[in-house]
Amino acid sequence: MSPVLAGVLQLLALVAALGLSYRPLGDHMARVYSSEKHLRPEKWIYKAIGANPSVEMRWPAYLRGVLAFSAVSVLFLYLLQRVQGSLPGSLGFVSIDPDQAFNTAASFVANTNWQSYYGEQAMGHVVQTGGLAVQNFVSAAVGMAVAVALVRGFARSRTGELGNFWADLVRGTIRILLPISVIGALVLVACGAIQNFSGIHEVGQFGGGTQQWNGGAVASQEVIKELGTNGGGYFNANSAHPFENPTGLSNLFEIYLILVIPFALTRTFGRMVGSIKQGYAILGTMAAIWLGFTALMMWTEFAHHGPAFDIAGGAMEGKETRFGIAGSSLFSVATTLTSTGAVNSFHSSYTGFGGGLTMLGMQLGEIAPGGVGSGLYGMLIMAVIAVFIAGLMVGRTPEYLGKKIGTREIKFAACYILVTPALVLCFTAASFVLDTPANSMTNSGAHGFSEILYAFTSGANNNGSAFAGLNADTQWFNSTIGIAMLLGRFLPMVFVLALAGSLAEQKPVPETAGTLRTEKPLFTGLLVGTIMIIAGLTYFPALALGPLAEGLAA
């Protein structure tokens, strides 16, 4: 079988697996977020929090919950790293410096998992398992909570109430992420991922003597890192490390974990707004972009244009033998079209166009299918914009899901789509005006520019993958990327929740013959076009200086 055919079959297997879990998981999540009942362990948790999970919150209260929980999380994670040297179970690793500790804390709380530290050398059991892996769960649950709040905004009328943040946070963690993680972790261990607390220990080797391994709770962290679209590796090589991703099968399973919740949330959305077909239209948009990107990525990586790859006879630099070109391309597209940022192959060593695709995937706003929760709300914001553009074309007040998209709503949506590009482009430009950051680059020319553009794209979009030639452990990058991650995560959430509150207050508009049918393929086409035009207009000049210049020269 040719590698290309095997790749296509793997893609089809992935589509089939995602298709099979779409309905049960999507419906389950809709029940989780709509149910009136509280499970017994959840009641204990609410008691410990001191929150009444049945109290409805308006958007400012919901937002205060999100921000308070996240602020406390950043502080806790920062302190945990700062005192690592004095904690038991830290394997003798020292405390993390302030700038790097801030960067890492911001990174994991913002669901980014950008890592300027060296996993196996820097973080012991306590910080990895008790700090970082916990944020993998809860930052994902926060993302889903905000998405569900927006969906409730569309579904509810004349109320302004969006649900209870604490209940959404706890339920997302306990009823969705934890059960899938337990099963998934065991699947990964069965494939060969390690799961132990043996710390640093000696193992024999072929040529005599011993080698030192860093053992840890890897599988349990790996699974939630993919499922929660987080991406922070236990080891420096992330999912390319054989202990994190041991076989071709585990590789396909990890790609499945990355995509399963973001896609299924469109079913949850359809259920909660009372029209499954509306969910299909959003799903269609996400799937079309994802499949298109995957096809382009496979094409450019198999074609392997680039001087070094021509000499080698293939673009295998930075890729593992067991995954090959196809398994690596599938993973890199999934990880950059969601907010995951885990890597099983190193994007910096992709072809010029391949590297550009990973960047463009993030620059679309990570909405195809996007991060858990953030993908859905990002896509719904794009849908609001698309409806608005369509409304302008025919001269009608735009409506979406029975809600008027008026001045107030479109302002929130516009603010949302401005935040991330502003962060990416301003910080990239600032880095090139200053002297020091430029010294951090490994590659020169167009690819060197791409390293820094990639870093801020990845940070502000909460992806976390890297063109890792960049030495990002400097005070400049630790602080600026840290700020970009926090603003890129929480400012958009403010606008999403404000929009949700404003929608929930409205009374529904009856559907008429002139209403744009947003459940039809025509709308899916309009939505894909809107996304491409917005991202294209925003980022084209920057992309032309980096990956396009590199790709065209090859």
Binding site: Q10, N196, P242, T321, E550
Partner: protein
């Protein structure tokens, strides 16, 4: 909306308590439970898939690639490969233990060099010349076009335990000559250690270098 200090303080306090409870659930109970089950159900895999040679000595992990080099000689920066053994892929991206010098942990990492990077072009060119030279024996010439891409490029982890079947077959003549074995015997050994795609389409065909070299050494020892 009440934005008084007291209220903000209450929300932060609730947030802290929520974080602590969820830390216990997701950061303590969950990993311990998974570790417990994994250690009972898959003890070998959960502890790193160690493999032993015929004498029962642990030679490493099935999953972690190793180097098969001669001892470092004076004046050399990098040790020369020990050509008796099948050689793995290059690993130019591995750093040194820089953060934690008290350990020498097995590190992982990629070169992160782009396709037009001068270092990478030089590494690939040099590696290709070396593969051609090392594997050409008196009766068997290797052509540059025979060298597969994985033989001259570094992997993502730098610890790739596998090489492609093409690269393994390319080394057969050399390995047979250095170990005074039949070419056919070594070819059979490579074939036995070649894994096809899982279910015929998942992943890529590959040869585990440590398993292959361990079997080779056992074979040579048996004479």
């Amino acid at each position: 909306m009440n934005n008084s200090v007291g209220n903000t303080g209450r929300v932060l306090w609730a947030g802290l308590r929520a974080l602590l409870v969820l830390t216990v659930v997701c950061g303590v109970l969950y990993p311990l439970a998974v570790t417990g089950v994994a250690q009972v159900a898959f003890p070998g895999r959960a502890n790193g898939s160690e493999i032993e040679d015929a004498s029962g000595k642990v030679v490493g992990s099935e999953l972690i690639g190793q180097r098969y080099d001669l001892p470092l000689k004076d004046g050399e920066e990098t040790p020369a490969p020990d050509l008796r053994w099948f050689q793995p892929r290059p690993s130019n991206g591995l750093g040194t233990n820089s953060v934690n010098t008290r350990y020498s942990i097995v590190l992982s990492g990629a070169t992160n060099r782009s396709g037009d990077n001068a270092d990478l072009i030089r590494w690939v060119t040099d590696a290709k010349a070396a593969v051609v030279e090392d594997n050409s024996t008196d009766g068997h010439r290797v052509k540059p076009s025979d060298v597969p891409a994985d033989a001259v490029t570094s992997s993502g982890s730098g610890l790739d335990p596998h090489i492609s079947p093409e690269y393994a077959r390319l080394q057969v003549h050399r390995v047979a000559e250095r170990n005074k074995l039949d070419v056919a015997t070594v070819e059979r050994l490579v074939a036995e250690h070649t894994d096809d795609r899982i279910l015929g389409f998942i992943g890529e065909p590959r040869v585990n270098v440590l398993a292959l070299n361990t079997a080779l050494r056992d074979l040579v020892a048996k004479g």
